[in-house]
Amino acid sequence: MKELKLMKGNEAIAEAAIRCGTDGYFGYPITPQSEIMETLMAQQPWNTTGMVVLQAESEVASINMVYGGAGCGKKVMTSSSSPGVSLMQEGLSYMAGCELPCVVVNVVRGGPGLGTIQPAQSDYFQSVKGGGHGDYKLITLAPASVQEMADFVELAFELAFKYRNPALILSDGVIGQMMEKVELQPQQPRMTEEELIEKYGSWATTGKTADRERNIITSVELASEEMEAFNYKLQAKYKAVEENEVRYENYMCDDAEYLLVAYGSSARICQKSVEIAREKGIKAGLLRPITLFPFPTKPIQDIAKHVKGILSVEMSAGQMVEDVKLAVNGSVSVEHFGRFGGIIPSPDEVVKALESNFIEG
């Protein structure tokens, strides 16, 4: 049965994880996302769905526990915030190299270093450009509401299993901590081993039975020719992701003369900025990337044809702006506006930035 609740984004992640039949969660506490594991532990899903929940000794351990569980073909996830996700980069590189599906939630806080516990979007590069060593990508979803925090858990698992690649939910301290109305899906049963094999094939380490060859989860290949061939395979996969999985949302873009591009909580702010700008007679629109990898390059190119300028708005010193620039390839002026280190920009600030960059003088 669907259920309507008022809850925090972090709590919604936990609730959705149980309801979509997640097999395991491994995590380590860090602000501002600790409610995820706290909610799971309070729910004790091992008594209801059989879901495993374990507090690890570090993010290094939790991502490797995820690796082990994912290698068994299970729906396994972890969550953390920026410094913790940095510690997971080794494991994520290995998982991409082993083609293992998993879901990682990053409730981003300001950095670098220990930084601040306040919200930020300064982990964009780490999220969409690989993050660890080697040529790989994480399928990256950017929720902009508590509802999307809930909905994207199942979506992230679907994409992760479809492409056998880690998927990242790139949230931030605003979305994680704020409370909103959320409609929760009814409880789904966990997948059986047979269902998994039926849907995704037999590749997991579940014990080598007589009827199949043994399954080995590994990313090591010392023969350079083989390793290059494998890299070509990975790149073909990422190309397929780019062709099939782009998700975005347009807000008042049809007649827009100026385009704001923003994701997550910045997109929520920019929605208001568009309204303020339009009250002032500035025809602004907003494109909100929902997937950051794959990036909505084509939709931005299309809108770029009829706007005078694009402003990338991020709670960072300017990271996504590079992908916006790559998308339009010099055809229209692209500028960046951001507050960072834990500061959340106001809608008025964004409008001012739009005016100062493109309209005044």
Partner: protein, 253 residues
Amino acid sequence: MDIKEIVKEENLVYKKSMVLTDKEMHYCPGCTHGVVHKLIAEVIDEMGIQEKTIGVAPVGCAVFAYDYLHIDWQEAAHGRAPAVATGVKRLLPDKMVFSYQGDGDLAAIGTAETIHACNRGENIVMVFINNGIYGMTGGQMAPTTLKGMKASTCPFGREPQQDGNPLKITELLAQLPGTSYVTRHSCHTAAAVRKTKKALRKAFENQQQKKGTSLVEVVSTCSSGWKMTPAKANDWMVENMFPFYPLGDLKDE
């Protein structure tokens, strides 16, 4: 006598375990890894658990352990095998799970994962190959390198003030409430090999009985890293390694 008259079923005194693959091992002559691989294969075979055993391989010389045992394997990042094994066992509690790690993997880069997996009492077997050196990368100092022992990163011998002390991680792990069986063996004589096999068998049986973590250390030789012949390496191990890493059970509950 013609060879065909000798090679007969009734004359069979030894047979390679079916759990061992036919792949030629990459290990150096005199290396202990091959022997321990064989023993694990025999234990899996004799217990009839091939279809339910999942191995977790390390980074180090045994990185390709998965080439040699005919079971499902996961190859873990350096030092992370206990965390990976935790994930496997927690998600598939009815399967038999073991990690196979060297000293650098288990007692240096993976110390935290090792201690916490043991302290949680993860119901797994951990096989620990301790030869006091990094074989794969060319003979660098390991956490278990003895005082005065030479390695490429302590070419004049390990000097504790500069290099720190050798770590008796097995003694440390025996202190933890999560471990049920902690034992140290070797494979330098036929008798020692038999004892190691018995210990491995017991460790796997403990897992069947859900007793918590069982750790079997095998004090091993590295002829290449130690720059000795295999026979000399065995003698050197007896004279130098055994006094610091004495053989026997440290814990059996």
